[in-house]
């Protein structure tokens, strides 16, 4: 479990932005929690990198712009994670920080990271896709947004 920096800005009643993993028989669940939908998406992306390596090992040396669009927030979430999977796979990158903006079913984001260095990152399981399993994007009673799904490794 990790806590993002700069989450002090959240309203006091809403939990600070953070991410967590949750179990699945064969794969692993990623969950982002934040005061806004966009922050929940950012946190879930951090959780996804943490499936592959320890977040603190990833240096922020280059950034990639990502955009996607979907009719529903949950589909947008899966599309977001899959867009990151595609960037990681084709560019050979790992990401350690994200900035997400969401307006009218459209997501525009920046992902910062660096090329995979097998020795330094000791990458564990490759995330090969985000799935619809345990997929949920919702605002909890306490006001926090939660975005989660199982990722295939």
């Amino acid at each position: 479990m990790g806590t993002s920096a700069g989450s002090d800005a959240a309203a006091p009643t809403i939990p600070t932005a953070h991410w967590e993993h949750f179990p699945h028989d064969a794969d692993i669940g990623v969950r982002g929690i934040g005061p806004t939908l966009a922050e929940a998406f950012e946190q879930a992306a951090l959780a996804m990198t943490a499936v592959i390596t320890d977040l603190e090992r990833v240096e922020l040396r280059e950034s990639v712009a990502i955009s996607c669009e979907a009719p529903e927030p949950d589909l947008l979430f899966v599309d977001w994670l899959n867009a990151l999977v595609l960037e990681m796979a084709t560019q050979g990158l790992l990401f350690g920080a994200f900035h997400v903006e969401i307006r009218n079913h459209r997501l525009a984001a920046t992902a910062q990271g660096e090329p995979v260095d097998p020795k330094r990152h000791e990458p564990c399981s490759e995330v090969k896709g985000a799935t619809f399993t345990e997929l949920a994007v919702e605002q909890r009673a306490d006001g926090a947004w939660v975005a989660q799904c199982i990722v295939d490794v």
Binding site: D25, L86, P118, C124, E126, T131, T133, L135
Partner: protein, 476 residues
């Protein structure tokens, strides 16, 4: 799961009669302990599959069934296009045609004892493994199309494999009806530098010793002799298959309403076989199968290069290559007549019985070799197809041990370095780029493969031929 949920037909057959929207029964093959240990999600998923249009006979789950995406892993279901049957991206899974192949070496275990560490190091160097590894082969667009059309036969034409291998691969190494034009740019991009790479997660290359023979005649026909060494490779269609799965799953889920399909779970995403989308998926999925077959052929070639250098007396003959995430067009007898069906096997192995016309002459009297991978550091099995599995499961059997513990929990319980040392003490050499990856794949995180294989044999789905113990494991 609660045994009370089932109508127990025999010691190894657990049946759920159709209720609600189920069109056919659901059947799980397992012993009592395996049923007790199965996740409730298996019940939910195997009954959900029984609700899909055009399903024939029953929705089946093999003894290693566990919670998958839409379909259970270990699920088998066949659909009739004449009855509005569907093809499902969820029913094939993300790693299209993930599978196992075993090559016999003719070497005695003692012969590799002095070169064991060198063999492990050289295999680890020559076969790209883990994240960030790249294949030595970079495909142009034209090469990509040829690979997606030709599969293992393409690899052999390129000089990365042997002609004799082809008859030991399902469909002789080429899935017919592949349509590379339906494989997206992104899927191609993910594969450009990944040919001949093993990947990560539960994929591996193992050097194994034949420890026990259970069926002497079958073992003889398979070229398996006690005390000799074999090489087994487990991997699939890499990034390309995953990208195809991801894209079509989304499209099928979005268009289910338009096709008049009421999905009990979005991950059962499917389309009528005759629809434009169904046909497009079949064309892309078959191209994905060819990618996996070519990939395993190239990895075999890289393995043979290493043996040629340091154990030149070995000849690595392919015993067989099985795929366990597929949808295949097959003919099966149903209600007294032969029907062409679209058989989905998701984490399940095709297991044709003796006499099947698709088997090569040397294997036809025995039945198809069924290769069952165990967890790292435990054991694997070679089985053979039976006469009985046709009526039981469209000639299908289990595919492996299946996890009993999440990666999350495994990582907390074990340390990679310590596991490697413990296995080394037992004479097993592990090579992996990731110590955490080794911990997540700890032998204790998996079910007992012997229990799965015994239940498979007792149920009549396949019969045991040999047991293999690991000597070297190259782990992604």
């Amino acid at each position: 799961m609660d045994r009370g949920l089932f109508n127990r037909v025999s010691e190894f057959e657990w049946r759920i009669e159709p209720v609600g929207a189920m069109r056919v029964p659901a059947v799980i093959y397992a012993d009592e302990e395996l049923i007790d240990g199965m996740d409730d999600k298996v019940y939910e998923q195997v009954t959900n599959v029984a609700m899909l249009p055009g399903i024939v006979r029953a929705s089946y789950a093999m003894p290693d069934a566990h919670w998958g995406y839409g379909f259970p892993i270990g699920g088998v279901a066949a659909f009739d296009p004449e009855q509005g049957g569907v093809v499902s991206a969820g029913g094939v899974g993300f790693d299209i045609s993930c599978g196992v192949r075993t090559m016999v070496t003719g070497l005695e275990r003692q012969a590799i004892e002095p070169i064991r560490v060198k063999l492990a190091d050289d295999l680890y160097r020559n076969v790209p493994v883990g994240i960030g590894s790249k294949g030595k082969i970079v495909l142009s667009e034209a090469d990509m199309d040829a690979m997606l059309t030709g599969g293992a036969a393409w690899a052999v034409e390129c000089g990365w494999g042997l002609e004799a291998d082809l008859e030991r691969i399902e469909e002789r190494g080429t899935a017919k009806g592949a349509k590379p034009q339906f494989v997206s740019k992104n899927a191609r991009k993910r594969q450009r530098k990944e040919m001949g790479t093993l990947g990560s997660g539960n994929h591996y290359l193992e050097v194994q010793e034949v420890a026990d023979i259970y069926d002497a005649a079958a073992a003889e026909a398979f070229g398996l002799r006690r005390g000799e060494v074999v090489v087994t490779i487990h991997c699939g269609s890499r990034g390309l298959g995953h990208q195809i799965g991801t894209e079509f799953l989304r499209e099928m889920a979005m268009s289910a309403d338009a096709h008049g399909i009421d999905l009990p779970d979005r991950e059962l995403a499917c389309a009528p076989i005759g629809s434009e989308l169904g046909q497009r998926y079949l064309g892309a999925m078959r191209a994905g199968i060819n990618c996996a077959l070519a990939n395993r052929e190239i990895i075999s070639h890289l393995t043979r290069q290493v043996f040629a250098r340091i154990a030149p007396q070995a000849e690595l003959d392919l015993l067989f290559d099985v795929s366990h995430n597929t949808c295949k067009t097959e003919t099966h007898p149903t209600n007294g007549k032969l029907q062409t069906l679209y058989v989905h096997r998701k984490g399940a192995t095709r297991a044709f019985g003796p006499g099947h016309p698709s088997l090569p002459d040397a294997l036809r009297p025995i039945g198809q070799p069924v290769l069952i991978g165990g967890s790292m550091g435990t054991m694997s099995y070679v089985l053979a197809g039976t006469d009985t599995s046709e009526a039981m499961s469209f000639s299908s059997a289990c595919h492996g041990a299946g996890r009993k513990m999440s990666r999350h929990a495994a990582k907390k319980l074990w340390k990679g370095r310590q596991l490697v040392d413990e296995l080394a003490e037992r004479g097993i050499v592990i090579r992996s780029p990731s110590s955490r990856g080794v911990a997540e794949e700890a032998p204790g995180a998996y079910k007992d493969v012997t229990a799965v294989v015994d239940a498979t044999e007792h149920a009549g789905l396949a019969r045991k031929v040999a047991r293999l113990l690991p000597v070297i494991c190259i782990k992604g």
